[in-house]
Symmetry: C2
Amino acid sequence: MRWIRYETNGHPAYGIVEGDMVTEVRGDPFAGYERTAVRQPMASVKLLTPVEPRTFYCAGLNYAEHVIEAARKRGQEPNLPKAADIGYRANNALIAHGEPIVIPADATERVQYEGELVAVIGSKAKQLSEADALSCVLGWTIGNDMSERTWQANDRTLWRAKNADTFKPMGPWIETDFNLDAAETRVRVNGAEKIRFKTNNMIFGPATFISRMSQYLTLYPGDVVWMGTEGAPENVKHGDTVEIEITGIGTLRNPVVRASR
Amino acid sequence: MRWIRYETNGHPAYGIVEGDMVTEVRGDPFAGYERTAVRQPMASVKLLTPVEPRTFYCAGLNYAEHVIEAARKRGQEPNLPKAADIGYRANNALIAHGEPIVIPADATERVQYEGELVAVIGSKAKQLSEADALSCVLGWTIGNDMSERTWQANDRTLWRAKNADTFKPMGPWIETDFNLDAAETRVRVNGAEKIRFKTNNMIFGPATFISRMSQYLTLYPGDVVWMGTEGAPENVKHGDTVEIEITGIGTLRNPVVRASR
């Protein structure tokens, strides 16, 4: 099943996508829903981020090549994570499929995409075993963990390097039927493929992260867990369009502009 | 004016505190409110955290003695922050005044309080000058940034060191009339004072942080900014009670228990 969140009459609503049509529901996929008689073409709706998370989790370094490439650029030895220690991103930075990524006027040219799988939590969960961990996941979406590398290297935290407004595109929808082992992540800039990798080629998979997280914290419906990216991303600039495709989910597409202030 | 958020008939409501009485309002202090005729004694209400933030900001290292003492314990040279780079905490960890701080069963004995001033954002804000920065602040509350120091030193992120469930007591209320320059923070464990410091003795004050943050991100009503702590906190254990008082606001009090799992 494919869930979208969209604006209708100035309010957010959830809908179920079937082919090119959306059926609006009363309620939501977390607390319960029923279908309404309102149907409209997908092309006519304004998409919102599929969810506004209570807590926005992000694995950060979670693919070996990405860790190795990032260390090489800093002239350091790579240091692969030894445990599934989750990190965070900030809600202010979220934007939907189609909305522009706005590079701050004083950012350097080192602004880069990171295509990521996102787990959307569907039910409250604590102390799950690894075998049961995915039982709390409603479905999967796509994230683009946009990053300003100069700030990332120099600021004390990732606040503006990773969490400037618009730096966290997420969407286009939540897909509940997803085969992680079969999935491939493909990143394109202006239509040209930049990288393609097995989505499940993670250092620690979603079940490992969610199980470990849940030993110390409660996961809530609507929380999201971004799973990290692979490889050595390249810079993007004003006028570019970034697409993150994960096969079996869809494609998250956002234009890039630079603020002129 | 003093705002509380509390549970009434199983739902959260905002109320205005006058003396020992609470007047329930329709609406909230952010989007607008009107007083109702419902009044009850403060002693009869179950307090909730004064707000559920959209984004939970935290300054981290922001008092010189705290930075110096922490570095000394690690056997390192102190490295004072050079800019107001904001950090984050997680909503799952928030608890209200009076609720127990639960130390995870496998935590070490190095679990410590950190008494902090908290700015509660009242209105949407972007690109504020330092002179105007506090115009977006509705009021002030108190936070206790509970920390497990062994995990803090060894994990790749602060996820369980700072954000285990119950590690972020916040409250008891939002005080809108507050003189930061006159305020003193006092931390007590089981009634014995552990430290007392000028609340405004920060490396970067709230106006500096909020102005700088707002150059890159949008602040939203209900966001909170925790401002850091002073000194070298001590361990607390099962059976202790921690009080953070900030003069002119009030006292945040929480018992400590250790999970037995």
